[in-house]
């Protein structure tokens, strides 16, 4: 899976989960402040990433994933590892 594949799929999941428009869902967007996610929505989003990419994201690492780009980078690194 290339970085651009991961990016596309992450954006698709974020759009679906948080119900945001494609043009609003860019890599620099912060889930909470920019995309309206509350703490429960973040949990749901993380679980969706886990299921889709077949990885596990420990709770203590979730706080480092603040933007769409953070998620892409995290998932890319985990999939390589």
């Amino acid at each position: 899976m290339t970085t651009s594949d991961i990016e596309k799929q992450v954006i698709e999941i974020v759009r679906e989960q948080l119900d945001v428009k494609p043009e609003d869902c860019t890599l620099d967007k912060i889930f909470t402040d920019d995309l309206g996610a509350d703490s429960l929505a973040i949990v749901e989003l993380v679980l969706a990433f886990e299921e889709h990419f077949e990885i596990k994201i420990p709770d203590e690492e979730v706080e480092n994933i603040k933007t769409v780009g953070d998620a892409v980078n995290y998932i890319r690194a985990r999939r390589k590892a």
Binding site: L40, A41, L47
Partner: protein, 412 residues
Amino acid sequence: MTGRRVAVTGVGLISPLGVGNDDNWRSLCAGKSGIGPITRFDASAMTTRIAGEVRDFDATRWVPKKEVRQMDLFIQYAVAAAAMAVEDAKLGPPDDPERFGVYVGAGLGGLPVLEATHDSLREKGPRHGISPYFVPAIIVNLAPGQISIRHNYRGPNMSHVSACSTGAHSIGEAFHLIARGGADVMIAGGTEATVSPLCIGGFASMRALSTRNDEPTKASRPFTKSRDGFVLSEGCGLVVLEAWERAKARGARIYAEIVGYAATSDAHHITAPSPDGEGAQRCMRLALRDAGLPPESVGYINAHGTSTSADATETSAIKAVFGAHARKLAVSSTKSMHGHLLGATGGLEAAICALALHHEVLPPTINLDDPDPECDLDYVPHEARKVAVDVVLSNSFGFGGTNACLALKRVG
């Protein structure tokens, strides 16, 4: 009740008869049935395969798409019906939010999401099988909670839970709250959405449901010889209650005045009513005393009338309370049309009573083809009746032997 007068200034109705106030009222006046085959799930293994399902409900008319999955259906109904009720009352945003409250209950709450989540827990395990929205989607008081968030109502907010009298108790408690000065405006009533395998199966296991699967529109037939159980329905019935002086001052249309309320308990059995409906009798008497009205003032009773053996008990309770006047007043069970909405039913029926006073029309008991000799009152058979009455009662009784009775009065 001594204290401030209370007006009914809005209603919000969702039932198998329609989504919205006009559709519901039209169907009630036309004597239509909302009962049909179960489509929500495969009911082929069930002894009862009919229910009153709400059709054509699109939650995204009232709730943003991403928030829909945070609510089980009973909460979606409540949010939608509250929006309708507020609009119907032409309330606008609250001028003093701390004086606005919400009492909306459910008898059972979020069974469909609970059942689906239990399935996914077993399939996927706890981490991926349970949504972080599971708890707020199913707990009963998220119905009033979600309403308060959307309308900025910062006063009392809670759910009264009393099975099939939930909606009536909620409205009665809200009435007394306003009367004694605890709030100025309350959204009150009940909501329910449990056309699910566990719920249909549970009531079927008690042999409480009609099995007239081949004739769904004839299945809810209160007061008949051939009645064979209630028909489970879903929906939401809410009213806007408002301090009388406030409603008058803003020139609100007032459907009716709510003048009396009582709550009693049979202290008898988990599901069966007490002999002769002793608890129901006391409840009607106390509601009339609360209203300061004599039994002879009552022109119509919206009966609990579930299409079970308890219809005869309710009939004898009415006779005991009203004596000779029982023969003069009209009684109907609108459950013959909308079925039994469990925790929502008392809210819907109280709203119907307010509309009946306002429009001067008594909705009928349909399917009354073969009256039970033990049920020998004027049940407004088959067709609605155009008549102005001054005072109406709405009876609601629930498992656990709990009873509620509301008294409403015509304006003017």
